[in-house]
Symmetry: C2
Subunit: 332 residues, 2 copies
């Protein structure tokens, strides 16, 4: 069995976010479901970019953001994801490595570009994502390095990978390798619309292979097709040993076998600048907490703290060291 080199290895889409502000009318006009991620093709992303206002480019990608957050807490994290040999690919690789994340996935030599997500932030701070996946799903078996998977305590996978068959295959392979090596498998459900596209597969996977499920309220109720959060939470508990369910400003609840539910308050944020990355950074705090041996409540509070930090800035990558922030809050 390999030694543990990483606290967490994440597999996900390698995306550069193109973030701009818009009003509610603009969202309605382009038909984007507010607060959600929708997939768009190359032509649509080009047209939307033309139509949207001035933007800022910041590296993103859900699980990639989580790995950066873990590194910012002082944890050891690695990321597997596909970029192209283009400017956005260079930006993505630079930023994740400069943040201290191990990232060695070879860039594609195809002419398909690096993924980008046009993120529209409305005046209430809510983000709506229009994602062109580009080369990102081109993760075939060669990309998932078994040594990296085996050398991480937790393998963290994003539900978004299910949107393309090639990526889904990488996802399944990583989950299998982790289980074989006795590592934990964590899954983010990513987005309620994504859950809707892959409900049956997600439910099978959660029952058979997931040790830690991370989801927000709309994702978990979509998964179980129920209206009430409590009902969805009950179903999740019977499917997986640990479910961490976030509820935006209402905080989160950790359901772990052998424990009573552990409610975690949200850390208040005023003003809300941009909610992009809130869930990703909650996952960073929680997974870092678990990987570093903190108890569940502290892990959840680290999650709340990191989420609050990223809501107060533009983009999904924290600018201040989360380790220092956690110390100043007496959590580490």
């Amino acid at each position: 069995m390999s030694d543990i080199r990483f606290d967490v290895v994440g597999i996900g889409n390698a995306i550069v976010d193109v973030i701009g502000r818009c009003d509610e009318d603009f969202l309605a006009r382009i038909g984007a479901p507010k607060g959600h991620m929708r997939l768009v093709d190359a032509g649509t992303v080009g047209g939307l970019y033309q139509a949207m206002g001035p933007a800022v480019e910041i590296s993103g990608g859900s699980v990639a953001n989580t790995m950066v957050g873990i590194a910012s807490f002082g944890g050891r994290s690695a990321f597997i994801g596909k970029i192209a040999q283009d400017e956005f690919g260079r930006i993505f690789a630079h930023d994740i490595r400069a943040a201290g994340v191990f990232f060695q996935t070879a860039p594609s030599d195809s002419r398909i570009p690096t993924a980008r997500s046009l993120i529209l932030v409305t005046p209430d701070g809510e983000r709506t994502m229009n994602t062109f996946l580009g080369v990102s799903p081109d993760l075939d078996r060669g990309e998932v390095d078994p040594e990296v998977i085996r050398s991480a305590g937790i393998v963290y996978l994003e539900g978004y990978l299910f949107d393309r068959p090639e990526a889904k295959e990488a996802f399944r392979q990583a989950a299998g390798l982790a289980a074989q090596a006795g590592r934990k498998v964590a899954l983010s459900l990513s987005d309620a619309f994504c859950v809707d596209r892959h409900r049956a597969e997600f439910r099978d996977l959660i029952r058979s292979s997931v040790n830690i499920l991370i989801a927000n309220e709309s994702e978990i109720t979509s998964l179980y097709q129920v209206d009430a959060f409590e009902e969805a939470a009950r179903l999740a508990q019977s499917d997986t040993p640990m479910a961490v369910l976030t509820r935006s400003a209402r905080g989160s609840v950790i359901y772990a076998r052998g424990h009573d539910p552990i409610p975690i308050p949200a850390v208040p944020v005023d003003p809300v600048i941009d909610t992009t990355g809130a869930g990703d950074l909650y996952a960073a705090g929680f997974l870092y907490g678990i990987a570093s041996g903190r108890n569940l409540e502290v892990a959840g509070r680290l999650g709340s703290l990191a989420a609050a930090e990223v809501i107060g800035i533009l983009g999904a990558r924290p600018q201040r060291k989360l380790a220092a922030l956690a110390r100043s809050h007496g959590l580490v």
Copy 2:
């Protein structure tokens, strides 16, 4: 004589800023003069990018930022500057047009890339720039559209253009066309090191062709090689009909023939996030004020307001509408 279509047309370098945070040691290690702009070549910019931390990409360029600021105030502005047909060029063109600035300079078909400036922000909020000009100086006579120049009330030129002969030629041509058409020529001295490189030419130009000179304290004292601000200001007044001199937190002073010096207080900013663009946005407020017929004091106060706004955010492009901000301060 053409009709006035634009309040201000700006000519400058078309740059995408790559902004990251660093400590004082990093600046010292790479030998970058704090608070200034230095020119670097393609190899150096690549090496610095590798060495610097995570970054954010935001359109920039000194005079381009000013034109965006004028549009944000509700003014009509145009920009002339050279981009390549690459990702950074597409970002630059998108952002300036989406901000409402007229921008029609044809992209270069050479393989030289679009300019970028690696901007390192220290914990005190001061920015230090490492600029690779790329294709930006390739402004030959064809780029300076005489119709655009003649149709603007003010032509605004950045001193940085003097750093390359091709751009300097475009600069001189624009100044000549503006004078011939009875338009005002405004000049930004850009940077004290830039002044040092071109002192004699700048002084000749200011005496012969500049109606409005905009400079900060270190630039104007470098221009006249004197220690005291007051002495530099006295010399500037004898060289040009209007000198607008900024002094960071100490505000600015407007020296106009036929007027007593007009001191303008700075608008306090706390916290200082990033000083990138402070001078550019001061110029935006001032030139918008002049072009829209405000008196000199109001023009200066519009400058202070816009500078404060941009110091409170990352990057040099305001995110809120300056017109609304000016209204809320009773200035328009």
